[in-house]
């Protein structure tokens, strides 16, 4: 059992994405950085999408009331266990009475804390993931508060001590390059705007949520009358309203939208979206769909050497 003593700006329980309900308007949810979730789960012997804590900007503290094995991955500041410095990317065996503290982050946005057997959570529409706007999944559909008690799904003690290989530890910085493909309405941009979209460096604006990240610093203007018929969108879709400020959609993305879809972040790089914080520099690198899938296969091959080992 983990008792939350300081909940960070926003900590939620996130498991697998909620696939197959978008035609009811129900988004995927799940971890904003699914790779870091998988890496944390790997260190405690869980399946990749077992329910973990997603902690925003660090500044999280909890007390342990029963021995358990946890692991921390994703963006990380200083981690301490009862005052002693501890490492991310390794299995941490905690005793009853231990206090875990995760300091505020300097880079990246989200930290993932996994426990052996996963955190118990309420399922809704086939997934334990929290979707805050409608208040379902996770713990009563809400963000964690001080005093919340989190139980493991089963036996929380893992006999092994694993470490993520150094080659598989993502490094987060304030400059993010994302591979991206043209999308259905990319041709509503003139040539100059299309070049801006795929050549210039944008800034992530203050509205960086689990639903989307606004981009500023440059504007691109789709040639649209604002009456486009609402069309499917997914995490990774880049929409552009007439204001000219593109928005990259994340894991809690709406399921349909009527602003032109001017790009789509490649599947291989969508996990990076969860670590973009306001003020970060963001660049889209255009790839053909075929090249993007080759990049995905290559990344999956590298990751499988550890995640599926």
């Amino acid at each position: 059992m983990l008792v939350v003593t300081k909940p960070s700006l926003q900590t939620t329980l996130q498991g697998a994405p909620r696939l197959g309900y978008r035609h009811y308007g129900i988004p995927y949810s799940g971890a904003a950085d699914a790779l870091s979730q998988a890496l944390a789960n790997r260190l405690v012997g869980n399946a990749a999408t077992e329910t973990v804590l997603e902690i925003t900007y660090g500044g999280f503290e909890a007390e342990v009331t029963e021995a358990c094995t946890i692991a921390v991955a994703g963006a990380c500041g200083l981690i301490t266990i009862s005052g002693e410095t501890a490492s991310a990317h390794t299995s941490l065996h905690l005793r009853s009475g231990d206090r875990i503290e995760i300091a505020p982050l300097r880079h990246g946005m989200r930290t993932y804390l996994a426990i052996r057997s996963g955190f118990a959570a309420t399922e809704a529409f086939g997934s334990s993931s929290t979707y805050l706007p409608a208040g379902f999944g996770g713990l009563d559909g809400r963000a964690l508060q001080a005093g919340d008690r989190l139980a493991p799904e089963g036996d929380a003690n893992f006999r092994q001590t694993l470490e993520t290989p150094p080659t598989h530890r993502p490094v987060f910085s304030s400059a993010i390059a994302l591979r991206a493909c043209a999308s259905a309405e990319t041709d509503t941009l003139n040539r100059a705007d299309r070049e801006t979209l795929f050549m210039e460096t944008f800034l992530a604006d203050r509205q960086a949520t689990r639903m989307g990240i606004g981009l500023t610093g440059h504007t691109v203007t789709p040639n649209s009358d604002g009456k486009m018929k609402s069309a499917p969108v997914f995490p990774g879709t880049v929409q552009c309203p007439p204001s000219g400020a593109p928005v990259i959609l994340l894991c809690d993305a709406q399921t349909t939208g009527g602003y032109p879809r001017i790009a789509s972040i490649a599947r291989c790089d969508r996990h990076l979206l969860g670590q973009i914080r306001p003020g970060d520099r963001v660049q889209l690198l255009e790839r053909s769909p075929e090249a993007a899938l080759q990049d995905l296969a290559e990344k999956q091959r590298l990751l499988a050497a550890w995640l599926d080992a």
């Binding site: 978008r22 308007g25 129900i26 409608a134 999308s183 009358d225 499917p232 399921t255």
Partner: protein
């Protein structure tokens, strides 16, 4: 025989096909939902997107090319669901501009909106948000140039020729004409969604 569908790649892992109507999109999406390798099938108002497992791209492409659009509108014979709306004022901050754009008085707009029987064409955007057709010919309003960061649940907007009802608090880009107390989505209800595609709707002014 209807023409073959032409899948367009809108992401490295998403195909999309254009269809003629919201009802056609709903029917095609239902037919495609069991395709092996399709991770998700989502209808828009005039298209269907299939997000796929990249390992199964050829199976999904072939399924799309071989699909035949049908137009079985699941039009309900049941009497229309009544939805009561408080038009204008703080509930519908854009009603005046919408009426000005259409060259109508507010009373004439409300009479037109409540006078027609509307049809639910699609659920999407966020849980329970309903796209409802049935505005009179010639009503066509663009979205806001920038979406509002927060629109209250129950807000009723119009965009192009559709009425949309926001089921949850959240961002929204549709000009708002009013608000309803009807709960379009409640996760803890046995039937979480008030409306389904094909259902008929009658608006009443409060």
């Amino acid at each position: 025989m209807p023409a073959r569908l032409t899948p367009i790649r809108v992401a490295d892992d998403v195909f999309e096909v254009a269809v003629g109507s919201p009802a056609e999109a709903q029917a095609l999406a239902s037919a495609l939902r069991q395709t092996p390798g399709a991770e998700d099938v989502v209808a828009g108002l005039d298209r269907v997107a299939v997000k796929f497992d990249p390992a199964e791209i050829e199976i999904v492409r072939a399924a799309l090319q071989n699909a035949r659009p049908t137009d079985k509108h699941p039009q309900s014979k049941a009497s229309p669901v009544e939805i009561e709306i408080r038009y204008g004022g703080e509930h519908g901050p854009d009603l005046k501009q919408v009426c000005a754009a259409l060259g109508l008085s507010i009373d004439a707009f409300i009479a037109a909106h409540t006078g027609a029987v509307h049809t639910v064409e699609m659920i999407g955007f966020t849980p329970g948000f309903s796209y409802i057709s049935g505005l009179p010919e010639g009503f066509s309003i663009p979205r806001l140039a920038s979406p509002r960061p927060r629109v209250p649940a129950g807000s009723v907007g119009i965009s192009a020729a559709f009425t949309g009802i926001y089921a949850l608090d959240g961002p929204g880009g549709w000009p708002l004409i009013g608000r309803t107390d009807a709960e379009l989505f409640r996760a803890d209800r046995d039937a979480p969604f008030l409306l389904t595609p094909g259902q008929r709707v009658q608006f009443r002014a409060l």
